[in-house]
């Protein structure tokens, strides 16, 4: 049992960090502007196809391609903010949900029209490493390392740079931030861009591990929802821990039950946490 459990748990943690990265994008946007970004899934899918296109088209190493995808994600996010989110930033929350969902419909529609819904995969290998009973593939290790690196960069940005401090100020109290001279519209646009970029990077990393279609984004979007609720909406560190937790659940459950029970347990956990501790397991600042 332990011999089977240990490798799945290690795999679970490695993938969990990547899930956590995607969820961080969602939670950053929510923390700053109180909008649950329902275009999150299509941004993840865009990241997947970005890495795939650069790899198959230009032969670019997927872990280098992810950097380009991050930049594209930032631009795409700022655009989505300008077109769809800016006008509803002070409207009731239904408007934000529906506006971002409309963006999702448009992107999914374009994606299924032009990219078809066939399965793709990034055929790239870095060998595998064995340590005692545990064997992990090189790509999984590299993807997890990338995700950890991006998380570190995000924290450095949020805590060490002026722009990052402005984001935190607006998240804390937008009116007060405006009073001390922070231009909140720019900050909101940048936050939305960053959140989208994180989703795209996570998508790009997932693409190196599993086959995917245009519609795969939706699955990972739902995982992000579960994670942000576990970690507390608006709390990036909570998202990372929630991601690892979800990875562990995904690793451990199939040992004891059929794999199809994983979503039942995930969503039951999700609803339970919302009911018992809506502020998340970490008891976030909100």
């Amino acid at each position: 049992m332990i011999a089977r459990l240990l490798p799945s748990l290690v795999d679970g943690v490695l993938i969990g960090v990547i899930y956590g990265l995607a969820a961080m994008g969602l939670t950053l946007i929510f923390g700053v502007m109180n909008v649950i970004n329902l275009s999150h899934g299509s941004m993840i899918a865009m990241g997947m196809f970005g890495v795939y296109a650069l790899f198959t088209g230009a032969g670019l190493n997927p872990f280098v391609g992810v950097a380009a995808v991050a930049a594209l994600g930032l631009v795409a996010g700022v655009l989505v903010y300008a077109v769809a989110v800016h006008r509803v930033r002070n409207a009731p929350h239904l408007s934000g949900l529906l506006a971002t969902f409309a963006v999702n419909m448009i992107l999914m529609g374009l994606g299924t029209r032009f990219l078809s819904t066939n399965f793709r995969n990034v055929d790239f290998s870095l060998g595998s490493f064995a340590l005692g009973p545990v064997t992990v593939t090189g790509t999984r290790l590299a993807a997890c390392g990338c995700a950890a690196l991006v998380t570190g960069l995000l924290y450095g940005f949020l805590y060490r740079t002026r722009a990052g401090k402005e984001i935190r100020a607006v998240a804390n109290d937008r009116a007060a931030a405006e009073l001390v001279g922070i231009r909140s519209t720019r900050v909101l646009a940048l936050s939305f861009g960053l959140g989208t970029s994180l989703a795209a990077v996570a998508g790009g990393l997932i693409a190196t591990l599993f086959p995917f279609t245009v519609l795969s984004g939706g699955t990972y979007e739902l995982k992000s929802f579960v994670i942000v609720v576990l970690g507390g909406l608006g709390n990036p560190l909570g998202a990372l821990i929630g991601g690892v937790l979800l990875g562990l659940v995904e690793g451990a459950v199939p040992i004891f039950l059929e794999a199809s029970w994983v979503p039942v347990i995930e969503f039951a956990l999700f609803v339970l946490v919302l009911l018992v501790r809506p502020q998340g397991l970490l008891g976030a600042r909100r």
């Binding site: 039942v264 969503f267 919302l274």
Partner: protein, 322 residues
């Protein structure tokens, strides 16, 4: 009460009944199928509007009640051999019960948290249905043709199902009207504007919200039972389709949330548009894109929806449209 004080109700009923009678006049099965789809949307959108439009609670996973009612009704007819009418009542009751249980807990959550919770519940139910062998697991269940015998064969059974759906739709519209004009409806509108203030004014917010949630779940339960009886098969992906849930929100926004006529017009317009796009060569592949652009335009520029916009134009329209 003068006759025009109920003009909004008569207008809404006239539209629903008028549409419902179309297939009876032409007698064609294809018209019936088209109207069936529209009426399903009208009934579901009107029910969801009681929660979303009146109480201001955004249920993103409302389709869970349609799916649950469908599964319970299907099981009752095909496995237990119940009569359709009993199965429809069972579907409605099961959905109402689930809403009652959930309502007592998740309605404590506000805003985005509630919306997220409803998505989670729908996904949890879908995953559960996928795993329950008694309900056919991931491949779902099929109805045996024998099940249509007591209704005089499959062809007649389809007509019976159609008329039953018309009945449920009319009931949902009438219920929407009665709720809106009642003291209970006023309590819901107060909760929508400011829940804390409503509580201070003596509104029992928990009870009102739970009752609205149950009411908005009962009709989708009945519709689900009818829908899957007619389609003769049910599987988790089709029963708990989150996308349909969100289409309902689009219909309500299109017509105007919180109005009686809005969800009806919105549902009819959306389904008309959708079938027009699906059958046109130029737009068939991009119907999702067109629907997305339309939704975005409404949310950004006409958040009150068509009926809400019309009502704000003149006093006469404000009084005439409910």
């Amino acid at each position: 009460m003068r006759w025009w004080s109920r003009f909004g109700l008569w207008l809404s009923l006239a539209i629903v009944v008028g549409a419902a009678l179309l297939p009876a006049i032409s007698g064609s099965a294809s018209t019936r199928e088209a109207v069936f789809t529209v009426l399903v949307s009208v009934a579901l959108a009107s029910s969801l509007n009681m929660l979303l439009g009146y109480a201001g609670y955004v249920s993103f996973g409302h389709i869970v009640f349609f799916g649950l009612g469908g599964y319970i009704g299907f099981y009752a007819v095909s496995v237990l051999g119940w009569h359709l009418s009993a199965a429809v009542l069972a579907g409605a009751a099961a959905s109402g019960l689930l809403a009652l249980l959930l309502g007592m807990s998740i309605l404590r959550l506000r805003g985005s948290y509630f919306a997220l919770a409803t998505i989670g519940i729908n996904e949890a139910m879908k995953a559960l249905a996928t795993n329950l062998k008694a309900f056919g697991g991931s491949t779902g269940m099929e109805m045996h043709l024998r099940a249509y015998q007591p209704y005089g064969g499959a062809a007649r059974a389809l007509w019976i199902t159609y008329w039953a759906l018309c009945g449920v739709t009319v009931l949902a519209v009438v219920a929407s009207f009665l709720v809106k004009r009642s003291r209970f409806g006023l309590a819901l509108l107060t909760i929508r504007e400011d829940e804390d203030a409503a509580a201070v004014l003596g509104v029992d917010a928990t009870r009102a919200k739970t009752l609205a949630y149950v009411l908005s779940a009962v009709f989708p339960g009945a519709v689900g039972a009818l829908y899957f009886f007619k389609s003769a098969s049910i599987e988790p992906g089709g029963a708990f389709r989150l996308h349909f849930s969100i289409e309902l929100l689009v219909m309500i926004m299109l017509g105007g949330q919180g109005t009686l006529l809005g969800p009806i017009l919105g549902a009819v317009a959306y389904q008309k548009l959708r079938s027009a796009l699906l059958t046109s060569a130029a737009f068939r592949d991009v119907q999702l894109v067109v629907a997305g652009v339309l939704l975005l335009a409404i949310v950004l520029f006409v958040p009150a929806g068509a009926v809400g916009w019309l009502r704000s134009r003149s006093r006469t329209l404000h009084r005439a449209l409910e």
